[in-house]
């Protein structure tokens, strides 16, 4: 799997900084991505590249239920968010839109901004290529893997309805 450059943030990154409400009037993913993180990192949207990785502390995505937040991060090119913990609505939303997130306290603490990191979502393996250290994210319950494997919540329900 390819490696991505790390953008690192602190604890309690809230959905108002991921995508401020003043930009929610345009739900187009590309438009959302162009403002992603602007209030705490105005360089993010201009410098993030496809396949890069976001790492943050505890309670990532707290605050509002706006699904625009994981949509904005996903559309910016970020491949995966690794955090010490996630706020629950963000966690649901990411799974429901099929956007990979990984919960791993050690990785969230130790991986530094600018490190090159590779992730294997299926096994939960995170490798910091810069330091050589490997981490393991907490695995998802089977039920949630089922949703992800179906390609999101609606496809999961559709499959269930048809079976």
């Amino acid at each position: 799997m390819g490696t991505g450059k790390v953008f690192k943030y602190n604890d309690n990154v809230d959905t108002d900084v991921i995508i401020p409400a003043r930009y929610l009037n345009d739900p187009d993913p590309k438009a959302l991505a162009s403002h992603c993180m602007c209030d705490i990192d105005e360089d993010f949207a201009g410098s993030v590249k496809d396949g890069d990785i976001m790492v943050a502390g505890y309670n990532f995505g707290c605050g509002s239920s706006r699904e625009h937040a994981p949509i904005a991060i996903q559309a910016s090119g970020i491949k995966c968010v690794i955090a010490a913990s996630f706020a629950r609505i963000f966690y649901r939303n990411a799974i429901n839109i099929g956007f990979p997130i990984m919960e791993c306290q050690e990785a969230a603490e130790e991986i530094q901004a600018g490190d090159m990191v590779s992730v294997d979502f299926s096994t939960g393996t995170i490798k910091d290529e810069t330091t050589g250290k490997t981490y393991h994210a907490d695995p998802f319950p089977d039920f949630i893997n089922g949703i992800i494997e179906s390609g999101g919540l609606l496809k999961y329900y559709k499959k269930k309805q048809e079976s």
């Binding site: 209030d39 309670n59 605050g63 239920s65 913990s85 939303n93 039920f143 999101g152």
Partner: protein
């Protein structure tokens, strides 16, 4: 093993005799909610999935409250999308400008929530309905789309924190002070993935409006839901609003809690949250004198009639301080009308407040009171994150309606007890 109140409601809605924390269940939904920001995304997901029908046109509520009356062309487009969907699927509980109120004040007022319901809403403050002994939680737009199609959704059964309220509130101290104090104690992720179950003798002294305020901000502690036991005040509130029978659940005596927190209401003081986290709490007496430029009294947290009544009592005979803008927003049309009929509207306008039609507006930095760099607002709203009410270099201090009104008169953070008799 005994179950918490939340667990009992979820077990019932999943058709199970019992559940325990950590179980993944599928529950029937009593109501699915969305607003003008989240519904258009849900509509896109619904249509892209090729879904044709909603599960029950009477069990969906679409409330255009965030950017309305529309602030710009793009927000008008959002409303057009939501309006067309509501029309196409004959959504019974569709609320547009003229009938609309802030969703979490409006739905209980219209009798759309009864105890024992399981409600999801594509808005994080959906947890408000726990005040009525319902399970309700905020979700995203994809969950809303799935809920509208299927009438069910998946939940991980939460553990609970038991919050024991002792004594009774004194003076101007309110439900807002209780919830800010609690968030200060346990932190913005103190209840992550958990229920906050409020109990103790102090509950009975709380008005329904205080209970709505407290349940509303469970999310600010990371909570999945906040819930109150059903008592005579709950049943009294429901009278004349609905014909549906409440399903009353209560926690088992041997229910297991992850943690117990006690709050002594007798000694609780007026509390505020300083920037930029709701958990950054201080008592008003610790922070008096911080200069402010704006006051907002309203929102799904504190825009109900008793909130506005206490603000009006404090403002009566006073003037909003020079250099301060005070914006008052009744949460629903019914509350607005009550403000007119009972003379509150006159007090607000005579004291120099701007009185607005119901909208979420400034709370989320949408419109109707955006802050410039360097400005500070005292707001009865629910979040004080970086840039929440406008410029990235502006600040929001969260407070009760009483403290907000007193601060509007003083031009700085103030306690209502310090205001001279008008």
């Amino acid at each position: 093993m005994g179950m918490t109140m939340t667990q009992k409601i979820l077990a019932d809605a999943a058709g199970l005799s019992s559940v325990k924390a950590g179980d993944l269940i599928e529950a029937r939904l009593s109501l699915v909610l969305g607003n003008d920001v989240t519904t258009p995304v849900a509509v896109r997901v619904f249509e892209e999935a090729g879904l044709k029908k909603v599960f029950d046109r009477e069990k969906i509520a679409i409330v255009l409250d965030h950017y309305t009356p529309c602030k710009d062309i793009k927000s008008a487009e959002l409303c057009t999308t939501a309006r067309s969907f509501a029309k196409k699927h004959q959504i019974k509980n569709f609320f547009d400008v003229g009938q609309v109120g802030i969703e979490h004040a409006l739905l209980p007022e219209k009798g759309l929530v009864v105890p024992g319901d399981v409600i999801i809403g594509a808005d994080s403050h959906t947890c408000t309905y726990g005040a009525l002994g319902a399970f309700s939680t905020g979700v995203g737009s994809t969950d809303m789309a799935a809920g509208m199609a299927m009438g069910l959704n998946w939940f991980k059964v939460p553990e609970a924190i038991k919050v024991v309220l002792k004594g009774s509130l004194k003076g101007y101290v309110s439900g807002k002070d209780i919830i800010l104090h609690l968030i200060g104690l346990i932190g913005v992720d103190g209840a992550l993935y958990k229920s906050l179950e409020f109990t103790g003798e102090g509950v009975s002294s709380l008005s329904m409006d205080d209970r709505f305020t407290i349940a509303n901000m469970a999310i600010e502690a990371g909570g999945k839901n906040g819930i109150f036991p059903v008592d005579e005040k709950t049943l009294e509130y429901l009278k004349g609003r609905t014909d549906r029978e409440p399903k009353i659940f209560s926690a088992d005596d041997d229910a297991v809690y992850a943690q117990t927190v006690e709050i002594d209401l007798d000694t609780l003081e007026s509390t505020v949250s300083l920037p930029h986290l709701p958990s950054n709490t201080k008592t008003v007496s610790q922070v008096k004198g911080i200069e402010i430029q704006q006051v907002v009294i309203g929102s799904c947290t504190n825009g109900r009639f008793t909130d506005l009544k206490i603000a009006a009592q404090i403002l009566k005979g006073h003037k909003v301080a020079d250099g301060v803008r005070c914006i008052v927003i009744p949460a629903t049309q019914e509350i607005y009308m009550q403000c007119i009929e009972e003379g509150l509207a006159k007090i607000f306008i005579e004291s120099g407040c701007a009185l607005s039609t119901p909208t979420c507006g400034p709370c989320l930095g949408g419109h109707m009171g955006i802050l410039d760099a360097g400005e500070t607002a005292v707001a009865t709203t629910n979040r004080n994150f970086v840039g929440r009410m406008g410029h990235v270099d502006s600040k929001v201090i969260l407070a009760s309606p009483a403290v907000a009104a007193a601060s509007a008169v003083a031009g700085e953070i103030a306690s209502p007890d310090d205001l001279k008799e008008a």
